[in-house]
């Protein structure tokens, strides 16, 4: 399986890159810790904070690898090898997801210390963490391939992911906003991850039925995978 061969190389090469560490590990975990310490009882906040951790973990890792590979032209090693574009994209998304799951899991362990209730459905939580990770990794890959100068990829990603913290209801529930803002929430990819994880952890949801959360997140994963493959085709 070429996907696993590439994924293993990605982990070895990029796990300790500054972009992965600063934006992918330190930022989300400090963010989680700050909220946990400030509010104490974090049960309702936990799904949002975990989503943020997964978002930053996945996107930072994927973006970091693309920035380095395009700048140092190591990306061409993959393109000149007998590997299909979808395998390259699949490997990048897989390894970004694994990294995001790791950051999400550490975030969960921190939050667990401050939570009053047990997780309602652990298996569903892992499922949501995984599909959210693939959607976020796909988004990061597509954006990183789209930007002309790879060095700007992290800036463009921040333009997308920082507003999403607010518009997805990760920190403040969308139910507390006017009705029109819920529409903004519905067009934010992260909303479905937050809402789905809230259901898996607490047994209730804010806005969207969890079946739709799962469905939309899976569809987003497929969409970003497709867009990334097409972007690769356009670029090379």
């Amino acid at each position: 399986m070429k996907i696993l061969v590439i994924a293993e190389k990605e982990l070895k090469e990029y796990i300790l890159k500054p972009g992965s560490i600063s934006w992918g590990i330190i930022f989300p975990l400090v963010f989680t810790l700050a909220f946990a310490v400030r509010f104490g009882d974090v049960d309702h906040l936990a799904p949002g904070l975990m989503s943020i951790s997964i978002l930053f973990g996945t996107t930072s890792f994927v973006s970091s690898s693309i920035i380095f590979e395009r700048r140092l032209r190591t990306f061409e090693r993959l393109l000149v090898a007998p590997v299909k574009r979808v395998e390259i994209v699949g490997a990048k998304i897989l390894v970004g997801t694994l990294f995001g799951l790791f950051v999400g899991a550490v975030s969960f362990l921190i939050l667990r210390l401050f939570m009053a209730y047990r997780v309602w459905n652990p298996l569903l939580l892992i499922t949501f963490m995984f599909v959210s990770g693939t959607a976020f990794s796909g988004l990061a890959l597509w954006v990183s391939l789209r930007v002309e100068n790879p060095i700007n990829a992290m800036t463009w990603l921040n333009l997308i992911r920082l507003p999403m913290i607010f518009t997805s209801g990760a920190i403040v529930s969308l139910l507390l906003f006017p009705h029109w803002f819920i529409v903004v929430g519905l067009i934010t990819p992260m909303t479905y991850a937050v809402d789905g994880m809230r259901y898996a952890m607490l047994g209730y949801y804010d806005v969207i039925n969890p079946i739709y959360d799962l469905l939309v997140t899976v569809l987003l994963s497929m969409l970003f995978t497709y867009l990334s493959v097409e972007e690769l085709r356009r670029l090379y």
Partner: protein, 309 residues
């Protein structure tokens, strides 16, 4: 399309209005070293990128080992190795890990990695990022050979190498070729161009303007000799007077190609008397590939970068 190891027919690459490669036709025979020689921006790298499937072809087509670059890119990729102009392996992986990764991508046996490490005398456990530029180059070449490709593409193989490393790489290329690998190199390095290829194509502004063996290309210069002059002062009047010889400039020397040296010297001394310049040095040489290259690529519109006027 089985004739050559590499065949291009009307190979063209356009970026918007700009044509980087303009309808190239070429055939590289199996077992030869072919050199694509051209100034910066002439289209060498774009040509190699198209032939190795890295850049989409705008029009025309190419065949590598009989496989169509357009229709059978995966088969092309399986049968070629590419050494780009920058050594682009993974810094955080060791030499061995880099080669193992390449082997796994091509489903090559693991023993081949050990074989290459031994043959190329590589430091297996050293991280690629910590290697000298010479070793980086050798490792990059080794990685391109892990699956025993029939055709090896090398873009500027000796760029950024010191004299000794460049010589080692040239010896390595000859050795690989002796083992039966067809080698396609692009270069603007005249030592590479003079010493490596069996045949040379000279590319300018996306078109191949001359092609042949080194000797054949030198014959394009006629039966002439290259005369190098160091005179003081170089004036525009002097340049105008020898305009008919299409002079070029090389590190302060005026370089001209002449059919009859004796006749040129007579004319030169006549000019010396009239214009009053001093001849500091003068030498005559048989034309080199560099002379052919300069003659063909710089004649229409000086791009020598060293013109004193």
């Amino acid at each position: 399309m089985e004739e050559g190891a590499v065949v291009a027919e009307g190979l063209t690459k356009r970026y918007g209005d700009f044509t980087a490669v303009d309808g190239i036709n070429l055939t590289v025979k199996r077992g030869e070293i072919y050199g694509l020689l051209g100034p910066n921006g002439a289209g060498k790298t774009t040509t190699v990128r198209m032939l190795t499937t890295l850049t989409q072809i705008t029009s025309g087509n190419a065949w590598v080992n009989g496989y169509s670059v357009r229709e059978e890119p995966l088969l092309v990729k399986r049968s070629i190795g590419l050494v780009p102009d920058v050594s682009n392996l993974y810094d955080e992986l060791t030499v061995e890990e880099n080669l193992l990764f390449a082997a796994r991508l091509y489903n090559a046996p693991i023993e081949r990695v050990r074989e290459l490490i031994r043959e190329f005398d590589l430091p297996a456990n050293k991280k690629f990022g910590k290697l000298s530029s010479g070793f980086k180059r050798r490792t990059t070449i080794a990685a391109a050979l892990v699956h025993r490709p029939e055709v090896l593409f090398m873009d500027e193989p000796t760029t950024a190498l010191d004299v000794s490393s460049a010589r080692n790489v040239r010896n390595l290329i000859r050795l690989l070729n002796k083992e039966g690998i067809t080698v396609f190199i692009t270069t603007h390095n005249m030592i590479d161009a003079e010493s490596l290829p069996h045949r040379i194509g000279i590319i300018k502004e996306g078109k191949i303007i001359a092609e042949g063996k080194g000797r054949e290309l030198k014959e394009l210069m006629g039966k002439g000799m290259v005369v190098k002059l160091l005179v003081e002062p170089i004036t525009s009047k002097l340049i105008n007077e020898i305009e008919a010889y299409s002079p070029t400039f090389d590190e302060g020397f005026i370089v001209v190609t002449v059919e009859d040296v004796d006749e040129f010297l007579e004319e030169l001394f006549d000019l010396k008397m009239r214009l009053g310049f001093k001849v500091k040095r003068i030498s005559t040489e048989l034309p080199t590939i560099e002379d052919v290259f300069v003659e063909l690529t710089e004649r229409n519109g000086c791009s020598c970068g060293g013109c004193p006027l």
